[in-house]
C-alpha cells in the first residue's frame, strides 16, 4: 500500500509560557481595534451615482466645508464591527445576574417578526387604512398588558421605563389639577431606583423619602404618617428593589387613596409575578412595564426600550395621545388632542408618532409564544431560580433578608467581606475573570455594598449550579483573605480596570483630527 510520507506531528508538543509578547499587539482571537476615524482612508462602502445638482433651491445654505467622516469599504466596516462585538459580554454568551434588569433570553423569532416588511417598512403617518395590521397588533398587545395586570387601560407611547414613569406622573398631575387641587409632594422609598425621584422632580414635584424597615420592606406606618392633603402620590416598586414582595401593599394602597393620593408602581420587577398576580388587584393606579425586561425585547447594549403604562379608572381619562379606538371602519389612532372621545382628557403627548412599534412586535411575539401558561411558568421559574441561588449561597455570603424567601432576585451585602480587604467592587470584578458579568452592585442603597442577583427563568439548572459553584469559591477565598485574584481584577478581560477618574476630570468625548503637520520636514 502506498504510504503518505508527508505526515506532521499531532501531539500537543512542548508547553511554552502562556503569555508571549506578540508583534501585532493582538492576542490570538482577541484583536485590538482602532477607531473608525483612524482606519478611514477615502474608500467607500456604498455605490451611489455621482449626481450633479444646482444650488438654486437650497436657500443659500449649501454646505461649504467637509464634514470629516472616514471612508471605508464594506469588508473593512464589517471587520471593524465584528472585532468590536467580540469585546462584549452578552446574554447569548453567558449568564447576566443583573438585579432588576431581567436579562432573559431574547427569542430570535421576535427579531424575524419585527423585520417582516409589513411591520418594519411601515410609515407612522401612512394613511390609516394601510396600517390596520399594525394597529391590530398594538390592540392585541394592549389586551395582553391590561389582562396580565388587571387594569382597564394602557398608554402605549412611552419610549422606555423612565419615560413611562414620567407618563404616569403626568397623568397623576393632570388628575389632581382636574380636581382643582394642588398637591406637590411625592413619597418615594429610599430603596427606589434613581429614576423614581428623578422623574418626580422632572414632573415638578418635591420628593419625600420613606425609610425602609430593617427587614427590607417599606415602613408602611412611616409612609401612612407622611400622607396628607399635599401628597400627590407614592411611587413603590413591587416586588421591591430588595427582591421582596411588599405584603402590606393593599393596606398601603387603601391609605393612599383615602388620603386623596395616587399609587404609582414601578413595574421593573414584574417578571416575578406576571401571570400570577395582577397589580390591579393590589390597588395601583399606574404602572409602567419594561418590555425590554419582562417581555424579552433585547437590551441592545443600552436600548431601545419601551415603557407602556397601565392605568386605573382614576387615571385612564388622562392618557396621552395618540389614543387607539375602534369604530365601524376599523382601528384608528386619534392624534389630535381636541378630537378625542367623550370623557378623554389627555395630558399631552409623550413623543412624536405612536410608540416603539419595533418593540411591540417583539413583545407580542414573546407573549403569543409563551401563552398565559408560559408567562406564569416563566415567573415561577424566575422566582425559583433566585431562591435556589439564595439558599445555595447564604451560608458563605451574607443575605440581609435571607431568612425568608425572595422573589425573582436575591440580595446580598458586603458583611461577609468585612475585614478581608476585598470590597464588593473587587468581588464583582473577580467574577469577570471567571467568565461572568458582575451582578448589580451598590444598589439598592439601603444595604451596604449591595449585590443584587437576578438569574431569570432562562438559565438551566446546570448553568445555575455552575454560577453558584463559582460564587461559592470566590466568597470562600475572600473570607479566607486570599486576595490575589481580587486585587486589581479583572486580569483576563479585554481591558483591565479603567481610569474613570481621569475620564471625568478631563473628559474626552469625541475623536478630534490631528492638526495637519507642516509640509516641509
Amino acid at each position: 500500500m502506498s504510504m503518505n510520507n508527508q505526515g506532521r506531528p499531532s501531539s500537543a508538543g512542548e508547553a511554552f509560557p502562556a503569555s508571549i509578547a506578540t508583534i501585532s499587539g493582538d492576542r490570538g482571537l482577541d484583536h485590538e481595534e482602532a477607531l473608525i476615524f483612524e482606519l478611514g482612508h477615502g474608500a467607500t462602502g456604498v455605490d451611489l451615482p455621482d449626481v450633479k445638482i444646482s444650488d438654486a433651491r437650497l436657500g443659500g445654505v449649501r454646505r461649504k466645508a467637509a464634514i470629516g467622516l472616514p471612508g471605508l469599504s464594506e469588508p473593512e466596516v464589517i471587520r471593524h464591527y465584528v472585532r468590536l462585538s467580540r469585546m462584549n459580554y452578552a446574554i447569548d454568551a453567558g449568564l447576566y445576574p443583573l438585579g432588576s434588569c431581567t436579562m432573559k433570553h431574547n427569542p430570535r423569532l421576535n427579531e424575524k417578526m419585527a423585520r417582516l416588511p409589513g411591520f418594519g417598512d411601515l410609515h407612522p403617518l401612512a394613511p390609516q387604512s394601510t396600517t390596520q395590521g399594525a394597529l391590530e397588533l398594538i390592540s392585541q398587545l394592549m389586551n395582553w398588558l391590561t389582562t396580565l395586570t388587571g387594569m382597564p387601560a394602557v398608554a402605549m407611547s412611552p419610549k422606555a421605563g423612565a419615560h413611562g414613569e414620567l407618563c404616569g406622573l403626568l397623568a397623576i398631575r393632570a388628575a389632581i389639577a382636574a380636581r382643582g387641587e394642588n398637591r406637590k409632594r411625592i413619597l418615594v422609598p429610599e430603596s427606589a431606583h434613581g429614576t423614581n425621584p428623578a422623574t418626580a422632580a422632572f414632573a415638578g414635584f418635591t420628593v419625600d423619602e420613606v425609610p425602609a424597615k430593617p427587614n427590607g420592606h417599606v415602613d408602611a406606618e412611616a409612609l401612612k404618617a407622611k400622607l396628607g392633603p399635599d401628597v400627590a402620590a407614592i411611587m413603590l416598586t413591587n416586588p421591591n428593589t430588595c427582591g421582596l414582595f411588599e405584603g402590606e401593599i393593599i393596606e398601603i394602597a387603601k391609605a393612599v387613596h383615602d388620603a386623596g393620593a395616587y399609587f404609582y408602581c414601578d413595574g421593573a420587577n414584574f417578571n416575578a409575578i406576571a401571570g400570577k398576580v395582577r397589580p390591579g388587584d393590589l390597588g395601583i393606579d399606574a404602572m409602567h412595564i419594561n418590555l425590554h425586561k419582562t417581555f424579552s425585547t433585547p437590551h441592545g447594549g443600552g436600548g431601545p426600550g419601551a415603557g407602556p403604562v397601565v392605568l386605573s379608572h382614576r387615571l385612564s381619562a388622562y392618557a396621552p395621545v395618540p389614543l387607539l379606538v375602534a369604530d365601524g371602519a376599523g382601528l384608528r389612532l386619534i392624534e389630535d388632542q381636541t378630537a378625542v372621545p367623550q370623557g378623554a382628557r389627555p395630558f399631552g403627548r409623550m413623543c412624536a408618532f405612536h410608540g416603539q412599534m419595533g418593540m411591540f412586535t417583539r413583545a407580542l411575539t414573546y407573549m403569543l409564544s409563551h401563552g398565559r401558561d408560559g408567562v406564569r411558568q416563566a415567573s415561577e421559574d424566575a422566582v425559583l431560580s433566585a431562591n435556589y441561588i439564595l439558599a445555595s449561597l447564604k451560608d458563605v455570603m451574607s443575605a440581609p433578608f435571607g431568612d425568608g424567601p425572595c422573589m425573582h432576585e436575591a440580595l446580598f451585602d458586603d458583611s461577609f467581606l468585612e475585614g478581608t480587604g476585598v470590597t464588593t467592587l473587587d468581588f464583582a470584578k473577580a467574577m469577570i475573570d471567571e467568565g461572568y458579568h458582575p451582578m448589580t452592585m451598590y444598589f439598592p442603597l439601603v444595604v451596604h455594598g449591595a449585590m443584587l442577583i437576578e438569574p431569570t427563568e432562562s438559565e438551566s439548572k446546570a448553568s445555575l449550579d455552575r454560577f453558584i459553584h463559582v460564587l461559592h469559591g470566590l466568597a470562600t477565598e475572600a473570607r479566607a483573605k486570599k486576595t490575589e485574584r481580587f486585587a486589581g481584577a479583572p486580569h483576563l478581560a479585554p481591558r483591565r480596570r479603567l481610569d474613570e477618574t481621569a475620564a471625568a476630570r478631563k473628559p474626552v468625548l469625541r475623536w478630534k483630527p490631528e492638526p495637519i503637520k507642516a509640509a516641509a520636514e
Binding site: 422632580a201 443600552g302 409623550m350 410608540g355 469577570i432 478581560a493
Partner: protein, 447 residues
C-alpha cells in the same frame, strides 16, 4: 416550553435545596386574595413558532409596506436604503443581547462604537460635543428646551411654526412645567418672523430646518438675534441626511442641536424605535442629559472607553439629575453609526445630492399639473404642494389607486384651515421614475 430550560426534575431538586414544598410557598408574602389562578387570564396558551409566525404574518399582511407601492411619506420619518451589512451586524449576539456598558472591561465593543457615534454626530451637526443618543428627535427637542431653561435660568421657550407639530406638543407637555412655551404661527412655505418674538425673558428659540413643510431655514440671523438677547438657539433636524448637503446648524450659530437619526441605519418601523441625536457646546457639558462615553486608559495604559460624567444622571443624582432618562437608543445608535461608516464622507454627500435631485424632479413634474402649486421654494428632499381640494381625501383616493402619496398637512395640523389642501411629499433615493409616473397619473385622475 422552548424558552424555559428547567425541567420538572430540576424544579423538584431546586425546591428540595430551598426547603420549600412547592413554588407557591415562595410567594408567601403575596396576600392570598391577590394570587390569581390561571383561569383569571383570558389569554391563549403556549404556541409553537409555526403558529406564532402564522398569526404575526397575517397581521403584517394587512399593512401596505412602503416598498410595496409608490411611496412619498416623510414629515419626520424617511424611507432610505439601508445597506445589508447594517442589519446583519446589529444582530450579532454581542451587540443585540448585551446590556448597558456599566462594566467597561467587558463592554469595550459598545463603548467604542458609542465614542465613534458621538464623534460622528458632533461632526455632522458642527457642534463640539454630542451625547450617546436619546430616545428620538422629539424627546431630544424637549430635553434641549429644558436644558436651555436651566442654563439661562429663564422660562420662556419660543417654538417656530415650522417645528413638527408632534415635536411641539412633546415640548409643551414637559417644558411647560418649567416655564412658558409659545408657538409662533404656522406659515407653510415661508419663514415666519420669529426674531420679533425673542425678548429678554426668552430662554430659547426652537427652529427646525428643513421644517415640517420641507422649507430650508437660514439659522444664522436667528442665532445672532437670540444671542443678542441672552437666549439660546435650538436647531432641530428631522431628516439627518440633509446635513450631507446643507450647512451644519453649528456653523450657523446653534447652541444645541436636537435631531432625529432614523434616516440613517434605521427603518420606518411605524414610528419607533428611532434615535435622538443631541449635540451642544462644550461649555454646556454638565447640563447635557443622557449618557456620555469618554476616552481613558486602563491599568496597563491601553486606550479604552467608559461611560462618564455620570453624576449628571438619575442613578447618582436622583432628584437633582439633568434628566430622568435611563436608556439610550443602543442598537438604533449602532445601526446609525454602521450605516454612516459605510457611507463615509463621499457616500453621504452623494446620497444627499441624489435625494435633492429626486425631490427637485418630482416638484417640477407636480408644478406642471394644472391646479397644483409647489409651495416650498427651498427644500432638501421634501416639499409641500397646494392641491385644489382637501389633501386628506385625495391621499385616500390615491391609496385606492395603489399610491401612498405623502402626508396631508391636516394630519399634523387638523385645526389649521390654511393647511387643509396642503400635501407634504418626500422623495428619496428609493423613489424611481416609475413611482413618479404612477403618482402624477393618479393625481391627474383624482383631482
Amino acid at each position: 416550553m422552548r424558552y424555559l430550560p428547567l425541567t420538572a426534575e430540576d424544579r423538584r431538586a431546586m425546591l428540595a435545596k430551598i426547603g420549600a414544598p412547592d413554588v407557591d410557598a415562595l410567594f408567601r408574602d403575596v396576600p392570598k386574595s391577590a394570587l390569581a389562578p390561571l383561569s383569571a387570564f383570558d389569554l391563549p396558551d403556549t404556541q409553537g413558532e409555526l403558529e406564532v409566525e402564522r398569526a404575526m404574518s397575517r397581521l403584517a399582511a394587512k399593512n401596505v409596506a412602503a416598498g410595496a407601492a409608490p411611496f412619498f411619506c416623510g414629515a419626520g420619518a424617511y424611507k432610505h436604503h439601508v445597506p445589508s451589512a447594517v442589519d446583519h451586524l446589529i444582530q450579532r449576539s454581542e451587540f443585540l443581547t448585551s446590556y448597558t456598558p456599566y462594566q467597561p472591561e467587558i463592554a469595550q465593543g459598545t463603548l467604542q462604537y458609542l465614542f465613534e457615534f458621538q464623534s460622528q454626530v458632533a461632526l455632522l451637526t458642527g457642534m463640539e460635543v454630542a451625547n450617546a443618543s436619546l430616545y428620538d428627535g422629539s424627546t431630544a427637542t424637549a430635553e434641549a428646551v429644558l436644558m436651555a431653561q436651566r442654563i439661562t435660568k429663564r422660562g420662556k421657550a419660543v417654538l417656530s411654526g415650522g417645528l413638527h407639530p408632534h415635536y411641539a406638543e412633546t415640548v409643551e407637555t414637559v417644558a411647560s412645567l418649567a416655564g412658558v412655551v409659545s408657538r409662533s404661527p404656522v406659515t407653510p412655505g415661508s419663514a415666519e418672523d420669529i426674531i420679533a418674538l425673542i425678548d429678554d425673558e426668552t430662554a430659547c428659540v426652537v427652529v427646525q430646518s428643513p421644517d415640517v413643510f420641507g422649507l430650508i431655514r437660514n439659522l444664522r440671523p436667528i442665532a445672532d438675534a437670540a444671542h443678542a438677547k441672552g437666549a439660546l438657539l435650538i436647531a432641530v433636524v428631522t431628516e439627518i441626511v440633509s446635513l450631507g448637503l446643507l450647512e451644519s446648524p453649528g456653523a450657523q450659530g446653534a447652541d444645541i442641536v436636537a435631531a432625529e437619526g432614523q434616516s440613517i441605519g434605521n427603518g420606518l418601523n411605524f414610528g419607533g424605535p428611532y434615535v435622538g441625536l443631541f449635540a451642544t457646546r462644550e461649555k454646556f457639558l454638565r447640563q447635557v442629559p443622557g449618557r456620555l462615553c469618554g476616552e481613558t486608559v486602563d491599568a496597563e495604559a491601553r486606550r479604552g472607553y467608559v461611560l462618564t460624567l455620570s453624576t449628571r444622571e438619575q442613578h447618582i443624582r436622583r432628584e437633582k439629575a439633568t434628566s430622568n432618562i435611563c436608556t439610550n437608543s443602543g442598537l438604533c445608535c449602532l445601526a446609525f453609526t454602521i450605516h454612516l461608516s459605510l457611507l463615509g464622507e463621499e457616500g453621504l454627500a452623494r446620497l444627499a445630492r441624489i435625494n435633492h435631485a429626486k425631490a427637485g424632479a418630482l416638484a417640477d413634474r407636480l408644478a406642471a399639473l394644472p391646479g397644483v402649486e409647489v409651495v416650498t421654494n427651498a427644500f432638501f428632499n421634501e416639499f409641500t404642494v397646494k392641491l385644489p381640494k382637501p389633501a386628506a381625501a385625495i391621499v385616500e383616493a390615491l391609496v385606492q389607486k395603489g399610491v401612498i402619496a405623502g402626508v396631508p398637512a391636516s394630519r399634523l395640523l387638523p385645526r389649521e384651515k390654511a393647511c387643509e389642501n396642503l400635501l407634504i411629499l418626500a422623495a428619496t433615493e428609493t423613489n424611481t421614475d416609475d413611482d413618479f409616473d404612477a403618482l402624477i397619473q393618479a393625481i391627474k385622475d383624482v383631482i
